[in-house]
């Protein structure tokens, strides 16, 4: 699997634009919110970019994982997937290599986005343990969403179909506490916003960045990630089996 991981990491390295495009949408959004909309949004006392960053990180992951679906789809169509499957290597290794590649590539994009945020004035009082917790949650979240991306990668009929599924994911943060507090939303929207995974993850990250205890929301956040991971993994395994 290490060898296959090396292979797909090389793919990422040789098309660094995938990392750039992954980072560029969230960075553009961040600029838009901080400089255009941010002034009009009332969200706590600190700088708006501090409030904003967790949601932007979620957008980054959501747009990054579509490359996994894309690369997996290309592997299937080019026949190299079948070639690997006919070789004496663990059959799940091919999928895992793609998932881990996604985690690594997304981490790089996330670091880029955080650095840009720092340039825009993002400051955090979080200590090393809190940063590690942030990294841990984001990795877990990336892993879960990537397994979700494996599904269209395995089943899509066209390349557009393989990557289109990420768009709704990118917009999920808008109906959450990611950009504005949920308090001002009308009833049903608010109920949705407060009970969807992005809100619990965003709130937890925000607490950690602010140097506060993560709060009970962290368990909700971890439960969401774990739940998505398990369901996506099972569905991906079923989709994979049906190919044989």
């Amino acid at each position: 699997m290490i060898i296959l991981l090396g292979r797909s990491l090389r793919h990422v390295l040789r098309s660094p634009d995938t990392i750039v495009t992954t980072a560029i949408t969230p960075i553009a959004m961040m600029l838009l919110f901080v400089y255009v909309l941010g002034g009009a949004i009332r969200a706590g006392d600190g700088a708006y970019v501090d409030y904003l960053l967790p949601g932007i990180l979620i957008v980054t992951v959501a747009s990054g994982i579509s490359y996994t679906a894309y690369r997996l789809f290309l592997d299937l169509r080019s026949g190299i997937f079948d070639r690997f499957q006919s070789m004496p290597i663990a059959r799940s290794a091919v999928l895992w290599a793609h998932v881990l590649t996604s985690v690594v590539a997304n981490l790089v994009s996330l670091v880029v986005v955080v650095l840009v945020a720092v340039v825009l004035g993002f400051r955090s009082s979080a200590g090393v343990p809190a940063w590690l917790a942030v990294a841990g949650i984001l990795i877990f979240f990336t892993c879960a969403l990537t397994w979700l991306a494996v599904l269209p990668g395995l089943t899509a009929r066209t390349i557009d179909g393989a990557s289109a599924f990420a768009y709704p994911l990118v917009f999920l943060p808008f109906v959450s506490s990611a950009f504005v507090p949920t308090g001002t939303m009308p009833g049903p929207v608010r109920a949705f916003a407060e009970n969807q995974p992005v809100t619990s993850i965003v709130d937890t990250l925000r607490n950690l960045f602010a140097g506060q205890p993560a709060g009970s929301g962290i368990w909700t956040a971890l439960a969401w990630c774990g739940g998505i991971l398990i369901v996506a993994y099972v569905l991906a395994t079923v989709a994979y089996r049906r190919r044989i």
Binding site: G79, R83, P88
Partner: protein, 249 residues
């Protein structure tokens, strides 16, 4: 002990294999035996099910019914052992377009845990006249170069059984001769080769035995002479093939 005996009897044993895709019954009871160290050509019209059969033999597809043993191992229950025994060159070149030609072969050698992957890659590149192109991205290769790289990739390591699905389609005459030469060397070294082809002269040139797949079954197998004797009026394998396949329609 039965298993051991059957293992030494034939490299590939196919019994009563059936496979349908929804209502399309592609394979309707295929029987085929390939002796160790021999070269067998599988002939059939487009859509006859050659690729389907090869995919079942290489554990990429599961048969609906029937048993298949490769190198003595059951494809259904001993898939891992089968995959250790085989190498597959699929109908369409499956190379990594982003890696260079050399990196592609090195990757195969490392996946098979061979020693000296670099040296193996250089040897194979030379053997398939790709030494100069080895450092370029495979995505920039011509169709024929890609195909030769594809075959070179499956020859890394020396598994006892090799499947080649239309290995020479799209190759120029020189490339075809290189592949033929490689196949002959493999068989001379004791490797069992099963290949499919659309070129009847390729079957004539290379194969010890020829099997014709038609209407979901193997309608005949035999040496070239045996096949020709079936239809004394026919002069070439082509005549025999067209006669057999046409006569059944």
């Amino acid at each position: 002990m039965m298993a051991g005996m059957s293992a030494s009897a034939a490299a590939i044993e196919v019994r009563g294999v059936r496979k349908s895709f929804r209502e399309v019954r592609v394979l309707r009871g295929v029987d085929l035996e390939v002796a160790r160290g021999s070269i067998v050509a599988l002939l059939g019209s487009n859509g006859a099910g050659k690729t389907t059969l090869v995919r079942i033999l290489s554990t990429l597809l599961r048969a609906d019914e029937g048993t298949v043993r490769v190198n003595g191992f059951d494809v259904r229950t001993q898939g891992g052992d089968v995959r250790r025994s085989i190498s597959l060159t699929g109908q369409f070149a499956a190379v990594d377009e982003i890696l260079t030609g050399r990196e592609n072969i090195v990757m195969m050698a490392r996946l098979r845990r061979l020693k000296n992957p670099g040296r193996i890659a250089d040897q194979l590149l030379r053997r398939f006249s790709l030494a100069d192109a080895g450092g370029r991205r495979a995505g920039a290769y011509s169709g024929g170069m890609r195909r030769r790289l594809d075959i070179a990739m499956s020859l890394a390591g020396d598994p006892p059984v090799i499947f080649l699905d239309e290995p020479t389609t799209g190759l120029d005459p020189e490339g075809r001769l290189e592949v033929w030469q490689a196949i002959r060397e493999l068989a001379a070294a004791g490797t069992t080769v099963l290949f499919t082809t659309q070129y009847l002269n390729e079957a004539e040139q290379l194969a010890d035995r020829i099997a014709i797949l038609h209407d979901g079954t193997i309608i005949v197998t035999g040496t070239l002479d045996e096949l020709k004797r079936l239809r004394p009026a026919a002069k070439t394998l082509e005549d025999v093939f067209l006669d057999l396949v046409g006569g059944r329609r």
